[in-house]
Structures are given as structure tokens and as C-alpha cells.
Symmetry: C2
Subunit: 383 residues, 2 copies
């Protein structure tokens, strides 16, 4: 179902030959309308790949006819030539669709610092255009995989409309190669401004709270396209809820597929003076290599949680901090609490609850443990 | 020589029995004067161990008669009882030295969240007081080791005075257990205000630029004590230079002894608009798990360097960034530069040069690679 679950969309996924080995590596998603409002959110990294720079320009117009996505190369740090390659890709798709390149977004994922093989890529766009279909969502989701072990798709039904999506990324554990790309579609009728507000709200509470190694990709892109084909103007609150559900579902799939991880860790911050504080604390805990190693070793090391909390400027008093791991409050008032031997660390899912005792706000940040496999995967890659 | 290289200091290191296994675990450093001016810098972590809270209060007075240091337990996150334990330690030393507890600093290192065995610790203080000698610097340096494989000591000669020091810490790779502790002594005559200014300047360019895993300990402490026994008022610039040399020497020893590391990585940032920018960029690169894995795999992955630079707010243009690894400029103008196969990644020392092309300022941050051994050491510890 994926991006073709909503009416008005066709897609295709083909093996263009960008990757060696014959796997699918190029996807095309087309919005046949009648509307073509769209919005996008992009990596905050100041070193942005050529397709990000291109697609940001395109999205400034608030309209998208199509999205071309490739795996097998990120087209990042490739200079003006790399930008020309992205432009040529959009022009190729525009020619095939008899439309304007100015309404065609491009997404790339793979290794940084290498030019894309443009001959095979452009002929792949042509092949994909010839295979566009209402059933193409799954093939498209498959074609954007890099180190992903499975395709990630989701769809949710609203009142008279659908929201569908696909994503790639192995938990952002390796964003320099495993960039998070996501395309979400709907057949509801919305303006680009509405889509933009909804997408920012949805991603800020889902993808943005997935922090597996603190690294930030040069290519991360999330796009939202509305065809209006269902002829329904949705209730905005309900629509935001559906889009958030699709994003949360895809984010969860990314986390489960994280490279080299043996534990999925949810850091629930409660009792925060603000939601910002809660996110800040959650992110600091999620980025502690020491804690992530401890969780890998099934050691409920609350001292490392406190040490991570202490590096933030969130509102809290050190002697009022409480920490539970898998429901056992092993730290109370900043000191030893319940018996740590009561904590069952065996399940794959680990929940760390941090109570700041400073207010009513909460947030949950998701991460994974740090393993020798992570080191192996990220030291063996690339050369 | 260590902390007893300068005149006016005695020290001892004994096996009190805090650690199992009979290794030395308690050190005492005493300033016999005639002066006792002192200064300290402490962890910026808001979750501070009891000995840090105690010693900060003591140093507010600008004078130190002695320092008691123990390994085998950090006395962090131990509540009011832990603070009382630290206080009792200082009182014990004060009684033995016939002095005031208000001029005795305490430093602890080891596991967080456990009370110290006060009976053995206090009798250890007594034993140490009985063994104080002008030759005790090496035994003291040995007694503060945790996972350190070697003692870290240093001394430098000024014009008519000496500066000596000892430190412990395995590269801050595991600050929750391997806290960085450092005691520096001099027989020159200085005020506590002068010592404070010199110590802040020296540590900000040495220990503060060692960033092996981005984690920040609850116990980090650096103390500087001046006995005035040489009867020399030093030239302040020369004195700052000598103290900085001692700190740099000790910092280098910490880095070389970093747990689980196979590479020592220097990140030289040049062409920065300010020194702050240079440090910020160096630190961001030093904290990239992806890059640290790549260096471990001897992969000169400049894309991951750029991705880390791009997360900062330093002044730079992405298309003017240059990166060299071990002297080969493999990234020029934000894109591919010289042939990456020319980079020799085999040496243990790796230098990554980042040219921001934005100004005349520079800074170097030191880190290590990320290895499966790091994961192993930090997941196996504690329980």
C-alpha cells in the first residue's frame, strides 16, 4: 500500500544499476492530482546534499508533481557538479511526465562524496516512468533501502481519505549512509501551508525524537504530498493525528531495524518544567555512549543516567531526581532507591523513566544500545 | 617526582582496603607551607559527587593544607549520607594533621551510587598520614588509579621553582568510573587569585580539549596548591606556561591510556573566525560516533567529518570547507579533493585537519577511536 494507498498516486521501484548486485535502487512517486500541494522538512545539518538543496528550492513553491528517489549514492559533498546531477534528474523526470522540473523533488541516499552514475540513473528514471502504477508503492519502498533489512511502509484511514507513507533508514544509526528518507501521501485536500504545519508538528514528535547515535545526516528528507483525489477537506486536527500516526509507525520501524542494536530503549522524561526540557534531557540520555554500553551489558546503571541529565540546563534539583528502569525506581532523590537486582534487563525493549520533579511536562526519546556490531558495521563500511 | 617534586610537599599512597585485591587505593598530599594558597576547577556536570561539593566549598577560602584522594568508589549520588562521609574524611585528616577540615579537599573516583566503606577508608587516612614523605609522590599517583594501566605524573622546572603533578583517568573514556582527578603542586609563591586564573587558563587548553566520548563525569577535579617553599615569586606568564605544560603532559598520558582505544586522534581546526568556533567544531567532530568508527576501521571518511562540522553554528560556508587526514587534503571546497588512497591510516596517531576558511583562529581537540573494546569495557563494568 505505502505511498499508493491514497487515491491519485502512482509509483514504481526499479533496479537501475546504481547499486552493484541488481537490487532495486530507484523509485518514482507521481501525484496525478487533481491537486499537488506539498510540504517538506529537511536535515538541519548545514552541510546539505545536492538533492536537499534542490528539493528545498522546489518546495518553496508549495507544489510537487513527483519525487525521484535513489539509493546507492547520497550525492552529498559533490560540489556544483553534484547539484547539476540532481537538476538533470529532475529534468529527466519532468520530460517523461511532460511537466516542470520545478515541481519535482529528488532524494538520494548512500555514500557521501561520490558522484552518481548519471547514465544508469537517468535510464532508470525512464524505466521507472514506464512502470508507474497504482500498485507500485511496495516496489518503491523496496528501492530506497540501503542497509535496511526490510521495507518500511504504513497507512492510516481518515474520515473519507487516506494517509500512506514509506521510509528508509536503519534507525539513523548510520546517517552518513543510512539517511532517513520518507514520503507521505494523502488524497485529502489541503493547502501547502496546512501540509507544512501538520508535517512539522508530526515530525517534531516522531522522527525528531529518534536519536540513535546523535549524528545528523546530510540528506534527511520527509515529504508530504496531497492529491485531493478523495475530494475531502479533512478536519485538520484529525489529519494531523493520522499523519503523526504514520510517522510514529515508520519511526518505530526504523528503530527496530537499527543496525547493530540489541536493545530498543525508550527514555521517558516526566515531571519536566517544559516539553523542551523533557526533550533535552531525553536526548542527552540517549546520546550517552556510556549508558548505551551499560544497557547493552544489561546493567541498570542509573548513575550514568544521572550523569547525562546533569549535563543539561533543564530545570531540576540533583537531589530530587528519580530514575526507574523497566519500572523499578532504582534511584530516588538523586541517590540509591529500590534494589537494582529487581530490574529485569532481559527484554529487548528497555524503558528508562527520568522524573525531574520540576513540573507537569513529559516527552519520550527513542534510542538503541551501543554494541560491538555497531562499531563493526560503521568501521567496515565505505572504503 | 609527581606532586612532591616541588619543595614543601609530602605525600603517601596506601592500600586501605577500599578496593578488593590489595591495590593502593588512598592517597594523601600535604602542603607544609610556608604558604597554602590553592585553586580548583571542577566538573561542569550539575550532578556533582559529594567530594566535589565539599572541595568547592573548601576552595572558596582559597587555601588548602591537604588533599585526600581515594579510588574504589566515587561517592556520587549517595545523598546527604555521602556528603557526611566526605566531611568525616576531611575531619579525620584534619585531626591527624592538627589542622582545620575547612582547608582539606577530598577527591573520590570509582563506581557511582554506592557508599564508601568508611571504616577502612578512615583507617587508611591514618596509615597514609603515618607514611607521609618527600618521596611519596609516586605512591600517591599509584593509589588514585582505577582502570588506568599506568600512573600519570609530570614535573617542569621554572626559574627558581618547580611545578609537579599527578593525574588519573583513562582518557575520560569512562568518566562514570574513570573520572579525571589531578593534583598540581608548586613551591613558588602566588595568591589564590593568581593560581585560579592560571589553572583556568591551563585546563581550558589541555584537559578541556580532551573529549573521548562526550560524557562528563560527576567527579572531575583539578587542584593547584602553592607552598611558597622556594621563596620565589614567579613571572606569571612563565608560571602559566609551566602549569600548562604539566597539564598538557598529563592530558597526553590520559589519552594514550584511553580504555579500548586503538587510535589517538588529533582534530586540528584551522581558519576559524574565533577560537571558540575552532573548539566547537573540534568537539563536534570528536563526538561523532560514526567518524570514530571509521577511523577505527582505518577509513579516511571525510564525509563524516563534514557531517559533524555541519551540525555546529560556527562561521563557515559548506563549499569552502577543506579536510586533510594525515596530511592529505582529501576534501577541498566541500567536495572530493586528493586521492583518498594516498592517506596512510596505519599509524596509531591520526591527525584530522579541518580548514573552515573563515578566519585566522585555530584549536586542537583530542579524542580516540570507537572500538568494540570500548563497548566491551563499558558494558561489562559495574554490576
Amino acid at each position: 500500500m505505502s505511498v499508493t494507498a491514497p487515491l491519485g498516486f502512482r509509483a514504481a521501484g526499479v533496479a537501475a544499476g546504481i547499486k552493484s548486485g541488481g537490487a532495486r535502487d530507484l523509485a518514482l512517486v507521481v501525484n496525478d492530482g487533481p491537486a499537488r500541494a506539498a510540504a517538506g522538512v529537511f536535515t538541519a545539518n548545514r552541510v546539505k546534499a545536492a538533492p536537499v538543496l534542490w528539493s528545498q528550492q522546489v518546495l518553496a513553491g508549495g507544489r510537487l508533481r513527483a519525487v525521484v528517489l535513489n539509493s546507492g549514492g547520497a550525492n552529498a559533498c559533490t560540489g556544483p557538479e553534484g547539484f547539476q546531477d540532481t537538476h538533470a534528474t529532475a529534468e529527466k523526470a519532468a520530460g517523461l511526465l511532460d511537466d516542470s522540473a520545478g515541481e519535482i523533488a529528488v532524494c538520494s541516499t548512500g555514500l557521501i562524496g561520490e558522484r552518481l552514475p548519471m547514465d544508469v540513473l537517468l535510464s532508470g528514471v525512464e524505466t521507472a516512468a514506464g512502470q508507474l502504477s497504482r500498485d507500485g508503492g511496495l516496489a518503491a519502498a523496496d528501492a530506497i533501502r540501503t542497509t535496511d533489512t526490510v521495507s518500511k511502509i504504513s497507512f492510516k484511514r481518515g474520515s473519507g481519505y487516506m494517509v500512506g507513507g514509506m521510509a528508509k533508514g536503519a534507525g539513523m544509526l548510520a546517517p552518513a549512509l543510512a539517511t532517513m528518507l520518507c514520503v507521505i501521501t494523502t488524497d485529502a485536500e489541503l493547502s501547502s501551508e496546512q501540509l507544512d504545519a501538520v508535517l512539522r508538528a508530526a515530525t517534531s514528535r516522531t522522527f525528531d525524537r529518534l536519536d540513535t547515535d546523535g549524528c545528523m545526516s546530510t540528506n534527511d528528507t520527509v515529504l508530504l504530498l496531497a492529491s485531493g483525489a478523495a475530494g475531502v477537506v479533512p478536519d485538520l486536527a484529525e489529519f494531523e493525528q493520522r499523519v503523526t500516526e504514520v510517522c510514529a509507525d515508520l519511526a518505530r520501524q526504523l528503530l527496530v531495524d537499527a543496525e547493530g542494536a540489541s536493545k530498543a530503549i525508550a527514555i521517558e522524561v516526566v515531571g519536566a518544567a517544559s516539553e523542551d526540557d523533557a526533550v533535552k534531557v531525553g536526548r542527552s540520555v540517549a546520546r550517552s555512549n556510556l549508558l548505551k554500553c551499560a544497557i547493552h551489558g544489561e546493567d541498570p546503571n542509573w548513575g550514568r543516567v544521572l550523569a547525562a541529565v546533569g549535563t543539561t540546563d533543564a530545570v531540576f534539583e540533583p537531589d530530587r531526581l528519580n530514575v526507574a528502569i523497566n519500572g523499578i525506581w532504582i534511584c530516588r532523590g538523586g541517590a540509591v532507591g529500590d534494589d537494582r537486582s529487581k530490574v529485569d534487563m532481559r527484554p529487548r525493549d528497555v524503558t528508562i523513566t527520568v522524573d525531574l520533579s520540576a513540573g507537569p511536562h513529559t516527552a519520550t526519546v527513542h534510542t538503541t544500545d551501543l554494541t560491538a556490531d555497531y562499531v563493526h558495521e560503521n568501521s567496515a563500511y565505505s572504503s
